[in-house]
């Protein structure tokens, strides 16, 4: 549960700095008794208190509220053919810690792919690897060359188009609301 995650993170961050509860109290401006309560899950801190702790430890707030991972991968992903227009493979599947996923796409010549709006707050990155990609964003088409990038809000309808006679290869990263 959340209290357990916060407890674990606060203790881990404090120990990794080799701070006693007293030292942590000095650095954060939160009493040592309260830090102890938090670490033992005996109390749910207010946002103001958690902010003080994060600030004293020079961390973003999210370092204290999220579960941490420790995995490594060294594996290629299989290619998945969706509809013959936009062929893609998964480069990194969705990770709840980073709240993002990444795909590699191939868009055939003279093909177009329209996408519905994602959920509110989703941001999408485009990296063109080869060819010339046209993107429909804010009801306007924008041309991207190999090496170009685009970041846009994907919680609106958007599209991908290849008006050339060679395939376009691009990567996209979907960032879910932080």
């Amino acid at each position: 549960m959340l209290e357990g995650i916060i407890a674990e993170n606060v203790k881990l961050q404090r120990k990794s700095r080799q701070w006693s509860l007293s030292q942590a109290a000095l650095e954060t401006g939160v009493s040592k008794a309260m830090l102890g309560q938090i670490e033992r899950q005996e109390s749910s801190p207010t946002m103001a208190t958690l902010w003080k702790i994060a600030k004293g430890m020079q961390l973003p707030l999210t370092a204290l509220i999220e579960r941490h991972t420790d995995e490594q991968y060294c594996t290629p992903q299989p290619s998945i053919n969706v509809d013959g227009v936009l062929d893609f493979s998964v480069l990194f599947s969705f990770d709840p810690l980073l709240r993002s996923e990444m795909f590699a796409h191939t868009l055939e010549p003279l093909k177009e792919h329209l996408s519905n709006a994602h959920q509110f707050g989703v941001i999408e990155d485009i990296i063109v690897i080869s060819g010339t990609l046209e993107m429909l964003v804010d009801e306007q088409w924008c041309e991207l060359l190999a090496g170009d990038t685009l970041r846009f809000r994907a919680d609106q309808p958007h599209g991908y188009r290849n008006n050339s006679n060679i395939p376009v290869i691009f990567h996209n990263i979907i960032h879910y609301p932080a």
Copy 2:
């Protein structure tokens, strides 16, 4: 300040659902009086209360604690030559919301680049675009072909190596502690 961000986010999320304070109280299990206090910045909610709100609104916690952005880019980035071994360009510069940045690299034949440990908690993604890249992670070399990916903890020393006679092109994403 944090209280202002939380107030703004809670109100925005409630209004976008067209919920009154009473409806939001029903959905989240937090009293309407408290929701009103939060939105008017008259109180700093505990983590347990904020979690209830996020859960009732079907949001991750971070949707309530972070400032939101609304920008778009459609611009290529310049190439930067560091030391003749690892040539790179910035694909996406550091974004405090997403807490990540992305680069495109070219590693010349028979060259090696060693990197010191980043700050605690940093995660790095590697996407090999062309050629064969060797990565040093956990004191072991790992070979990646074009299209392969790797995710690893970059808060330890690591390295990049090209043992072939053609340049390697790869992208990397640096994720700073969430």
